[in-house]
C-alpha cells in the first residue's frame, strides 16, 4: 500500500499546488503569467498588485472577454509566489513560459525583480508590461519587449522639490539620505540634480546600508548642516524610524518628503501625529479624475468599483497594476492577433487614456503620458497637494511641530 501511496500523494500535491483556475477549454483562454511577491518582505505590496491584476481580469471577463479573429477569449492569470526574491522570480518566469505556455507576461513587484525577469521576457521575445519597476535602468538596456505604465523613479522627487521652491519664503537648502539600493539610489541621485537646477543648495547627500535600524547619528549629522528640506529614500520601515528620530533628535525642517513611506500601511498608524505634513510622490489618486476610454469609467468610478469588490479604497498599486493588463487588452484588440511580436508593436504605439491616466510609451518603453503628483499627510489622511491642478488641499508649509 505504501508503495502506491507515495506517488499518489505526490501527484495530489502537484495537482493541488499547480496554478489555480485552469480552464476546461484552454483554446479559448488568453493566459497571462505573473510572478509576484505573495510572501516574504514585499508581501503587503505584492497582494495589492494581485488585487489590481485580478480586478482587471474580472472586468474584462464580465464584459465578454476579448474577441480575436472572430473567436471569443476569456482572460486568465497564472500566478506564482516568488517570496520577494528576484532570483526566484526569474526561475518562475521561465517556468511560466516553458511549462505553462502563457501568452504574455505581467510584471512582478519591485525594481529588482522587474529588472531580472525582463531579461527572460526579452530572451523569449514575449512582451511584458510591468506596473512596479520604477528604476530607469530597467529600460535603458535596449530591450524591445519591456514596457512600464508607471513613471520611473527619477521623476519621484520632482513634485516634492517643485512644491518646495514655490513656497514663500523659498527654502534655500536641501539634504538627501537614502538606503543603498537601486531604487533609492536612482531616485535620490536624480533628485539631487533636479534640486540644483531649481536653485536649491544640496548640503548633505549620503547613503546608508540596508538593515540599518538606528539613524540618530545620521540625523545629528544632517542637523549640523541646517537644511530646510529633507528627502529620504529607502525601505518603508526605515522611513518610519527616520521620521520618529527626526523628532527625537530635534531636526528642524520646513519640508520632509520620502520616495515612498507615508502612504504605505503602517506608517500613519505607527507614527500618529509625527506623520503630519510628510510628503510622498504618487503615481495616481482617485481625485485625478482621468476618464477611461476603453471601459468608460472615471478614476473615481474605478476606485468605487474596486472598493466594492476588494473591501478597501485602492491606493496607486491597484489601478497601476490593472492598467498594465489594460495595455494588453488594448493592444490585442488593435493587433487582432495573439502573435507576441505583433502585440508588442501594438503596445509600443498605444495611445489611450485609462482610469490610471494617459498611456503613451517612449522609445525606451516607459509611459510618458502622465506625470507624478504629490500627497501630504493631513489629519492622518493622504491628500493631493501638488500639482495645483489636482490639489485637494493646500500644502501645509512649513512642517508643523
Amino acid at each position: 500500500m505504501r508503495r502506491f501511496l507515495a506517488p499518489l500523494l505526490t501527484l495530489f500535491l502537484v495537482v493541488s499546488l499547480g496554478p489555480s483556475g485552469k480552464a476546461a477549454d484552454s483554446d479559448n483562454v488568453i493566459k497571462f503569467g505573473a510572478s509576484l511577491a505573495l510572501t516574504g518582505g514585499l508581501a503587503s505590496e505584492g497582494r495589492l498588485v494581485k488585487d489590481g491584476y485580478d480586478w482587471m481580469v474580472r472586468t474584462i471577463n464580465d464584459r465578454g472577454g476579448l474577441t480575436v479573429g472572430g473567436k471569443k477569449y476569456r482572460v486568465e492569470i497564472v500566478y506564482y509566489d516568488d517570496a520577494s526574491d528576484a532570483a526566484t522570480a526569474v526561475r518562475l518566469t521561465t517556468k511560466l513560459l516553458d511549462e505553462d505556455h502563457v501568452n504574455f507576461l505581467l510584471g512582478p513587484y519591485g525594481s529588482g525583480a522587474t529588472f531580472a525577469t525582463s531579461s527572460v521576457a526579452e530572451k523569449y521575445q514575449i512582451p511584458m508590461v510591468d506596473a512596479h519597476g520604477a528604476s530607469n535602468t530597467i529600460y535603458t538596456r535596449g530591450y524591445k519587449y519591456i514596457f512600464a505604465v508607471l513613471n520611473s523613479v527619477d521623476q519621484y522627487p520632482t513634485p516634492m522639490l517643485k512644491l518646495a521652491v514655490e513656497q514663500k519664503p523659498k527654502p534655500q537648502t536641501v539634504a538627501f539620505i537614502r538606503e543603498d539600493t537601486l531604487f533609492a539610489n536612482l531616485g535620490i541621485e536624480a533628485g539631487a540634480k533636479q534640486a540644483a537646477d531649481l536653485g536649491l543648495k544640496v548640503v548633505y547627500n549620503e547613503k546608508y546600508p540596508s538593515g540599518t535600524k538606528d539613524f540618530s547619528t545620521i540625523i545629528a549629522a544632517i542637523r549640523a548642516q541646517k537644511p530646510d528640506v529633507l528627502i529620504a529614500g529607502g525601505y518603508q520601515g526605515d522611513m518610519i524610524v527616520i521620521t520618529r528620530q527626526i523628532r527625537e533628535n530635534n531636526l528642524d525642517l520646513k519640508e520632509l518628503g520620502f520616495l515612498l513611506g507615508p502612504t504605505v500601511r503602517g506608517y500613519v498608524e505607527t507614527l500618529g501625529g509625527l506623520a503630519e505634513g510628510t510628503l510622498e510622490p504618487t503615481q495616481w489618486d482617485a481625485n485625478m479624475n482621468w476618464h477611461d476610454q476603453l471601459f468608460k469609467m472615471s478614476s473615481e468610478q474605478f476606485a468605487a468599483d474596486f472598493q466594492k469588490k476588494y473591501g478597501y479604497a485602492p491606493d496607486y498599486h491597484g489601478p497601476q497594476s490593472a492598467a498594465a493588463l489594460e495595455v494588453f487588452y488594448n493592444a490585442i484588440r488593435v493587433a487582432k492577433t495573439l502573435d507576441p511580436a505583433k502585440v508588442r508593436d501594438a503596445i509600443a504605439s498605444s495611445t489611450f487614456e485609462s482610469f490610471y491616466g494617459p498611456i503613451k510609451f517612449n522609445e525606451l518603453g516607459v509611459n510618458v503620458g502622465k506625470g507624478m503628483a504629490c500627497i501630504q499627510i493631513q489629519h492622518g489622511k493622504p491628500v493631493v497637494v501638488y500639482p495645483p491642478k489636482y490639489a485637494e488641499a493646500k500644502a501645509v508649509y512649513p512642517l508643523p511641530h
Partner: protein, 289 residues
C-alpha cells in the same frame, strides 16, 4: 561635538544590543546551540508589545514583563519538546533545526500579522535630556536602562543562585551534573526560556525605538552574533562591552561615511576573531566557537 553625540548614541544603542545578544549568548554558551531563530523570537516579543499597546493603550514599557513571560513560556516549550531531541547530535543538526524553526516562525508571523511594518510611538517620543549641544532622548535612556537592568538580572541569576550554579554545572559536565541530581531536560528548557525571555524584552524595545516586520529578524540575529563573538561567549560583561563597541563603531561611522557602517562593524568582527578568537571577555571553558 558631533563625535560626542555619536559616542553617546552608540552607548545608548549598545545597551540594547547587549540585551538582545545576551539571550543568544546564554543559549549558545550553555547548550552549544547557535539559535538561528533568535531574531524571530525577538520579533514575537515586538508583536506582543505592539498588540498590547494598540489594543489596550498600555505604555510600551509596561508591556515588557508580558513579552518576557510569554517568550519564556514559548522558549521553555520549544527546548523541552523540540530542541532537546537533537541536543546530543552534532552542532550541524541544531543549526538545521533552529534554521527551520526560524522559517516556520517568520512565515507564521507573516500569516498572523501580515508583512506590514509596525512600531509603537508613545506620546513622549520627542522628549529629550538636553545637555548643551548634546541631546539624549528620554526614550533611549529608558531603553538603555531596561536593557542593562535585564542583562544584569540574568547575570545575578547565573552567578548568585543555585539555579545559576546548576546551569553552569550542566554546561561544564553533563554526566557529573546528572549524578548530583540535576535534570538536564528541565534545566536546558529553563535556560532556553531565559534566553527567549531576554529576546522578548529586546523585542519590546525594538518596537519602541525602531520599526519591525516579520522578516527583519535575520538582521537582529546577525547583530546578536557579532556582539557575542566580540564580547565572548556566555559572558555578561562581554555582551555589554560587545554591544557598546558595536554601537559606538556604527555611530562613529555614521558621521564619517554612513554607507560603510556595516563594513566597519563586520571588519571589527574579523579583526577580533583574528587577534582574540575567544572574544574580549570569553572564557575558554564555555563551549568553543
Amino acid at each position: 561635538m558631533e563625535i560626542v553625540q555619536a559616542v553617546f548614541n552608540g552607548i545608548l544603542i549598545g545597551g540594547f544590543y547587549a540585551s538582545m545578544a545576551m539571550g543568544f549568548s546564554i543559549v549558545w554558551g550553555v547548550m552549544n546551540i547557535i539559535n538561528l531563530a533568535h531574531g524571530s523570537l525577538i520579533i514575537i516579543g515586538a508583536y506582543i508589545t505592539y498588540e498590547l499597546v494598540s489594543r489596550f493603550g498600555l505604555d510600551p514599557f509596561v508591556t515588557i514583563p508580558f513579552a518576557a513571560l510569554a517568550l519564556f513560556a514559548i522558549g521553555y516549550a520549544l527546548q523541552r519538546y523540540l530542541i532537546n531531541r537533537v541536543l546530543q547530535a552534532s552542532l550541524f543538526a541544531t543549526l538545521v533545526l533552529t534554521f527551520g524553526l526560524d522559517r516556520v516562525l517568520v512565515n507564521a508571523n507573516l500569516q498572523i500579522f501580515s508583512a506590514d511594518v509596525r512600531g509603537v510611538t508613545p506620546p513622549y517620543a520627542g522628549a529629550a535630556l538636553v545637555l548643551g549641544d548634546l541631546r539624549l532622548p528620554w526614550i533611549r535612556i529608558a531603553v538603555f536602562a531596561v536593557a542593562i537592568l535585564s542583562t544584569l538580572l540574568l547575570w545575578l541569576l547565573l552567578e548568585k543562585t543555585r539555579l545559576g550554579t546548576a546551569i553552569k554545572a550542566l554546561s561544564f559536565d553533563r554526566d557529573a551534573a546528572q549524578l548530583v541530581g540535576i535534570d538536564p531536560k528541565h534545566l536546558y528548557a529553563l535556560t532556553f526560556g531565559l534566553g527567549s525571555a531576554l529576546a522578548g524584552i529586546a523585542g519590546a524595545l525594538v518596537a519602541t525605538i525602531s520599526s519591525f516586520s516579520p522578516v527583519i529578524g535575520d538582521g537582529l540575529a546577525m547583530r546578536s552574533f557579532v556582539v557575542v563573538v566580540l564580547g565572548g561567549l556566555g559572558s555578561v560583561p562581554g555582551a555589554i562591552a560587545g554591544g557598546t563597541i558595536l554601537g559606538v563603531v556604527e555611530n562613529l561611522m555614521s558621521i564619517i561615511a554612513p554607507a560603510y557602517r556595516d563594513a566597519a562593524a563586520f571588519g571589527l568582527l574579523v579583526l577580533v576573531l583574528a587577534i582574540r578568537p575567544q572574544g574580549l571577555f570569553g572564557r575558554r571553558f564555555y563551549a568553543e566557537i
